[in-house]
Subunit: 397 residues, 2 copies
Amino acid sequence: MSIIVQKYGGSSVASTEKIKSIAENIAKRKKENSKIVVVVSAMGKTTDQYIDLAKDISDNPDKRELDVLMSTGEMISASLLSMSLNAIGCDSISYSAYQLDIKTSGLHGKSLIDDINTERIQKSLDEGKVVIVTGFQGINTDGDITTLGRGGSDTSAVALAVKLNGKCEIYTDVDGIYSTDPRKYEMAKKLDEIEYEEMLELASLGAQVMHCRSVELAQKYGVEIYVGRSCSNETGTYIRGGNKMKLEDKVITGLATSDNDSSITIKDFESKYISSLFEDIATKGISVDMISQTAPLDGKVGVSFTVLKEDLDECRKIVGDYSDEKNIIVDNNITKFSLVGLGMKNTSGVASKVFKIFNKNSIDVKLITTSEIRITCAINSQDKMIAINKIAKEFNL
Amino acid sequence: MSIIVQKYGGSSVASTEKIKSIAENIAKRKKENSKIVVVVSAMGKTTDQYIDLAKDISDNPDKRELDVLMSTGEMISASLLSMSLNAIGCDSISYSAYQLDIKTSGLHGKSLIDDINTERIQKSLDEGKVVIVTGFQGINTDGDITTLGRGGSDTSAVALAVKLNGKCEIYTDVDGIYSTDPRKYEMAKKLDEIEYEEMLELASLGAQVMHCRSVELAQKYGVEIYVGRSCSNETGTYIRGGNKMKLEDKVITGLATSDNDSSITIKDFESKYISSLFEDIATKGISVDMISQTAPLDGKVGVSFTVLKEDLDECRKIVGDYSDEKNIIVDNNITKFSLVGLGMKNTSGVASKVFKIFNKNSIDVKLITTSEIRITCAINSQDKMIAINKIAKEFNL
């Protein structure tokens, strides 16, 4: 009997009504002779409410305690979903991170899963129970609760699928993966399938349904992920390895934008301190995304990079230790604009096409980074909509 | 350095503002050279909100999952209080039931504490930290979260004081223990001290600040309890053993009423099934309080007893298995009215005085139970206020 690991996001469990309808669906699915493990996120806006509570207490709340607070969100939705299944006669049991010994390492709020003990899950599955697991959380070597940060519940689900040798299904409030965000470009097309690598590039841009961590993990262990709308009959999108895919002759698969970043520019920076600066930033668990640097002149360089807005204050302080205030420029008004496609590997000229369109529409490009299958530009946020429309049309997304 | 175990009830941690002012008080207290452990309840109405959520899912929610849901309430307040202390520079760490291995036995929602591993607490105290502990919860032998039921957080606090050999302070939204409820009788007097036994009788009546479980535990291990208003300079009430008390020559110490019970009466009941009936009721974890039985006639008796209103439906079902429906009478309209005092032991005539007052004011007595230091009558709820006024005046409470 195959094991299916389903994950339901916050919007799918936002109310007791929604939880009850998910329970109905799970019970139906179980009758199709499957063993089902369900990973849940916190209900709707719970996480935001907790952040508000913590901010009421302190501008910089203790991170260990913040993780304790956050972890309760998934415990609430897990217990309610399990209650709901039991109430309709479908045996179920919920487990939290402690009970499954979901081992993590790394900083509070940004931990990584090291291992999961699946013994209790296997036992409960063998007893015919649907197993509900709290997503987004684990336990570190001190025995303290940790949270996994962005995309944490997706990562929990994929990790469980890896350990249980099962399939992974991510249920959310969209129909699947789109070539670009349908809320921003209404002619956006839903993809039937997408390669891990392409998904990874799209996901790492922060604007898509799946977070890159979970896709990376799935790719590493070859776990197929299905992404679709919860309680819907429409087919979603499969994320798979290349050998299972009918690779279409399409240069660009997707377009993504993200407003979650700020850029920091440092002028006249002593180039010998560059590595030490980025080391200090990394120690705090802050991810630096786009980096660009000018050629050194008299041992000094100009350097620009982007960080998530939530990390800006902390990062800004570190930069302040390295440079005169007058040489530091922060820009909060940027949008990351990215094009992704395996086809780019073999087709030159994508970049030049993009720059031509930007130029024609007076869109300034502030930073550029590229990979083999991706181009990302930082542009002014107010240029976002026109950039999406012009580029999506040009590349038939 | 002495260890103080403080407990703050739901109303004391109902908002982030209140949590912050409690944190200020704890930090001040710590400077007086004490090691402080703080047990917290869930914030304000959280528990009620959780019950509403669960009732939305099912009329009879799975009890194991209900405990998971309930336990998150204390995790939230514990993490916020610890954040709050850390924010004002008073080192603090929160622990949940899992981390302290608070071992429990018994049914979900009504578990009893078997033991607590205080190693982590001691270590954190030695590091100079204020330790925050989630009240009301534990872990059973299956490794599942359990809750302790009514008065659970008080019991957690006393149990910790026992294990840590510390003093116990219960902070709440009243000034201390009163001879009778000051909301019902405005001339009620606050007691400076009260004997365990008297407190136990008052507490067991459900109408007082402390729950009897915690008082029993304190009495068993000789832990002194202080009860007072949180963040107040007024002195509250000490609950102590007799040898520490200046025993006043007062017949009645307290008066308590409770509207939380219903009575069930069974007519023409085969007396041989009585023990089996009460065994079945006990198996479900339902406490039967007042029991009165008529003398057998042809092997049949009349039997009346009271149970908590929340247990009535379940208890009613069990009774239905034993008796014809026509012989079962349920009365939801009763108030338990009790007088407590160590002085009763040596003074006869308290009962006759009470009955005389009831008789003069046309108050029907439906059930009576007595102990050496207590008289409890079930009366019609509408007679409650007149009974309180007449009796309190007569006994100078």
